[in-house]
Symmetry: D2
Subunit: 355 residues, 4 copies
């Protein structure tokens, strides 16, 4: 299948779209067929058809022929004519709700980077207020969706039609907690705290009061306390009841990177060795997770990589731990994980094009 | 006059307006009469009448009673009723063109922070494309305007009705060059280069692609090469012909501060002592300019002060010099210099409320 | 007493020392008598006697005559001769252990910014490994020490001989938690999490691998997990048993500011109003604490102020809360609080010289 | 030759060394033979023999097997036994003076990143004060050295034994000016100004007062005015006499990247087209230089690439131009250019392993 795969990206104008473009242009399995790019499908973006990719993202210039690529004036006919096999949607949630079914119908595989198809429980989806929620089409599409975290669902992703690529914060928190919950070690009644900090690219490319340099620089602020919409995603994937996890995001004065500091209690005393073993076994065969057995990861170790780094520290009693989990929000937290999913879907090496 | 002075600020929502508010609230001569504040006079701002000042600028909270102040729904009647003596316009150029005459007519003194009244030559004003340029009212108003740089025009400012507060870049360049030009030392035919770098607050509070954290952080960019509208202001005040000065501004990834690196040639060889003497004599009696005789100033030395720091280095021949001139673009480059002008206008100590 | 108070600062070369110098030079009650400054008393610093203060801290230049001040080559005789009333020690812990008693003996009041005299329990002091711990002099000196947090110990501070100025992290955490603990609201068995983030000035002026721009910029890292020496100070002052509080500090890529995100559980459901009332009543009469009833504070609101801002958010059940507490680590977290303590000791207005 | 090339890096602990390690580990032509690494050869570094590479540079972990590599306790015997073909010296100038001849003697090709062998004129070398300057060995070694800028000396570099890899600032300035000087367009008598700004990685990994976050952040400072040792390198390579170029470096508050703003005068009026043509023709066949014909490059466009981007703007008369030249100081300004040189030396594609 390798030499016939044609990819396309809708929504290439944003930060995640730019990272996707960069990764796909360099992917060793896609060299013969450059991906096709289109902007978000509102009027303004549509008018951009024909815009050279390097005008929108000048840093892509000179990279293996990106200089010749242009934004295409999107139509479904074009995608069909180009025989697109894998369609990446780096689009707003509402657009992904409408477009994923349309693409599936045309026989494409879809990797959706939005929150449109991540949540299986209606209560958790409520924060998105999808207009089509509960419709026959939405129910059928949701049934096809696989949560795109290879470390948890590798076998289901292989061959899936629709991948719901995880959120950036949830990736860092789920990968840190799932092994401990799966092993039954955590005292869930005591509650889990996930105190997360993210760089500004996580807030999107639209210029707003909060993405203004004067607001973000030399500052730190908490937001979405007890109300951030990524919470439901964490609960579902880790397997927690509402109220068992408190998640607080903060806006860091850096371009990219997430660090989550996570506080847990164990039923019984643990040791550094016992916890390291749990993680090592859980992530055996997962090339994109690195476990730190002695020190703690930092944002600078993961920026511009697709790794999720996890370290931890136990208190003297062995009953409490602080876990630190880091990733690059545009890579393992978005575009990198999307490519990782494509690799798994197509049976390629999971980290191809990601190192 | 001291205990009866009432000030007002129009355009308090921007960065310069916020600094003005802070300075006026703490000014020792204004303690009895808190200033009056209003936003810019477009519809959106007008609707803000009644908004507590600390909602717009939370960092002003707790400062000597700022917590009780509100944005007022502006009308000329209100200003008249409050007996405003000194009106600060931190407004867009076009608004200042209309409002300065209106305020002068009502007997207020005006300190305008925009570029509306800084330029005496029509050729230099052309970049602003003022619609009323050449009208009788505009000509009459311009005739009343004094360029608000106390180090050059202290006596004219004292008692003036309308002060055209200088631009941020021009302040740093004019103060560095005027003493040398006045002394006749510079070989103007050889040309002067002013390579200036400014923090992001200079780009204004409106969220734009260029003020987005992701654009400004970890970056440096030149802009307005050979075309920045501050050039004319420098030519007029230093006394240069077009083409004798090349000015290149750059956007620095810091909140505030300007550093201008200026390259000049002398007719004859100079010494460190001869140049230091020129500066010291020129700025004798100017409390807000500091001359460095041995080292060079840096942005960190002037941020959050009203000082303009000047240092220099000569080459081995004594025929060339590099001059470094620094200021805080929101203080000596805007609100601080406006307060300094108010002090001179009213006969108060020039640096009162500025240390 | 006002017009006869003479202050001195030992350890003026560091960041806290520089802030102290700035505050004391501008303090309205100290105008007649400029403070005396000396560096830390190791050989290198002693050699600095005579160094103008503005060579060490250029940003102090021009501030009300700081330009004439010099570092003095310290001896006790000099301090005695100058009749120093209040001695600030911005010195390393070990030096403060030796020097506070020496100064008390000579009749000076001492405000010590180090950790030397903050802890009353030997178990908590163990992390400092003071060589003189348990000696008669140390016991006697500790007995005189008052923990310098006016919001908790105003009456004890008034007239005290020795003030142990609080740590930066503890100030932000204690002020946020003490009112709730005092009111008996917290379920201490459930544990409290304090996830704190500090700017780089908190790491001191010594150039190290961790204060290198390349390490700190664009990064975030946790450190001292379960082992930071500020933990004991929090336990003692809040009134918690070991294990009831988990404290995790992080290094932020900003110059100054601390934000602590604190997670608590209540015995019974609370409301926004009930919690606001607790805070407002506790801090009535405390001018340097600001309570946010609707929004959350951010670092940018407190930087370069002596305020500690506190905001909070309750979950839907009213049984859990996230509290956000911010301060400037060099002001309310160090030099500002030291001046606040001096004001209380001497019976002056608590916020004089701090606004 | 491809499949037998063995590389080694001395001085892998610094920033340039780390970039070299990363590039060589990923170089498509070196996959069979991982490079050998050693630290700088002082006592402290030597003791580091055996240290895993990822302990020194954690961000290299997980990259194609870097995790197994260790710092070797260097001896010449080891290098000989490993049959090292190409030796990279990322060492201090003095060490490179001694070690380049030693390596050449043993039949290795040497690519030296220091300033040891860049300068042919004794007057320009004086700033380095090499102890061995003028010795027979130094003269013989210098005679073998080729200045490692493929855009200027591609044919001489092919097959050279010793490459003097250019300095970071000089690369940005020489590439911008050489085409114009070679075309005879510049009025050299009018003088050229190169106002350069560099990120902090250019100042090296040693923690110093100037690399402290608190010094560099939120700041900008000029240094080495009229005295920076990169000046001689520019004069020699561009072909200028002393005094025809003024070079002023500044320290930017960013991790990496250099932007040079260069001011020139032409003998005759030029057009955008005429200048673009000069550049395009000069750099035809040079894959690592990008010419901007409409806009200006920025640091963010070149960071983490090996490109040198050049743009320009003419004044209305066509007689003056401002040229903006950008690169990543650790890549095109150091390690990237070193790999580019290796590619040319060995007859490989010039940009292999650099995209």
């Amino acid at each position: 299948m390798t030499d016939t795969v044609q990819t396309a990206v809708i929504g290439v104008t944003g930060y995640a779209g730019a990272e996707l473009a960069r990764l796909l242009l360099h992917h060793p399995r896609l060299k013969g067929k450059p991906p096709v790019f289109a902007g978000r499908l509102d009027e303004k973006e549509a008018a951009r058809g024909g815009t050279p990719l390097i005008e929108i993202h000048p840093h892509l210039g000179g990279n293996n022929g990106a200089s010749g690529l242009r934004m295409e004036p999107f139509t479904w006919e074009l995608l069909t004519r180009w025989n697109v096999d894998v369609l990446f949607l780096a689009t707003p949630h509402e657009q992904s709700r409408a477009w994923a079914p349309a693409a599936l119908e045309r026989g494409m595989r879809v990797i959706d980077l939005s929150g449109a198809w991540r949540l299986t429980e209606a209560a958790n989806r409520a924060v998105y207020a999808f207009e089509d929620d509960g419709s026959a089409q939405a129910v059928a599409t949701q049934a096809k969706a696989v949560y795109g975290m290879p470390e948890l669902y590798r076998s289901q992703i292989a061959g899936a039609e629709l991948i719901a690529n995880p959120g950036c914060y949830p990736t860092s928190v789920i990968l840190a907690l799932k092994p401990l919950v799966a092993a039954g070690l955590l005292d869930l009644g005591a509650g889990i705290i996930a105190d997360s900090k993210s760089g500004v690219s996580g807030a999107g490319k639209a210029p707003t009061a909060k993405t203004h340099f004067m607001y973000a620089a030399d500052n730190l602020s908490a937001y979405g306390v007890f109300s951030h919409r990524h919470t439901g995603e964490m609960l579902e994937q880790i397997g927690l009841a509402a109220g068992q996890l408190v998640f607080t995001p903060h806006l860091l004065p850096i371009p990219r990177g997430i660090l989550s500091t996570i506080y847990v209690r164990f039923h019984e005393a643990q040791t550094r060795q016992s916890i390291a073993k749990i993680y090592q076994e859980f992530f055996a065969g997962s090339p994109m997770v690195r476990i730190y057995e002695k020190t703690l990861p930092q944002i600078q170790y993961v920026v511009r990589t697709n790794y999720n780094d996890i370290g931890f520290q136990l208190d003297a009693s062995g009953r409490r731990a602080v876990i630190v989990s880091c990733l690059d929000n545009l890579l393992k937290g978005a575009a990198g994980q999307a490519v990782q999913n494509m690799n798994v879907v197509l049976g390629w090496g999971e980290s191809e094009g990601l190192e």
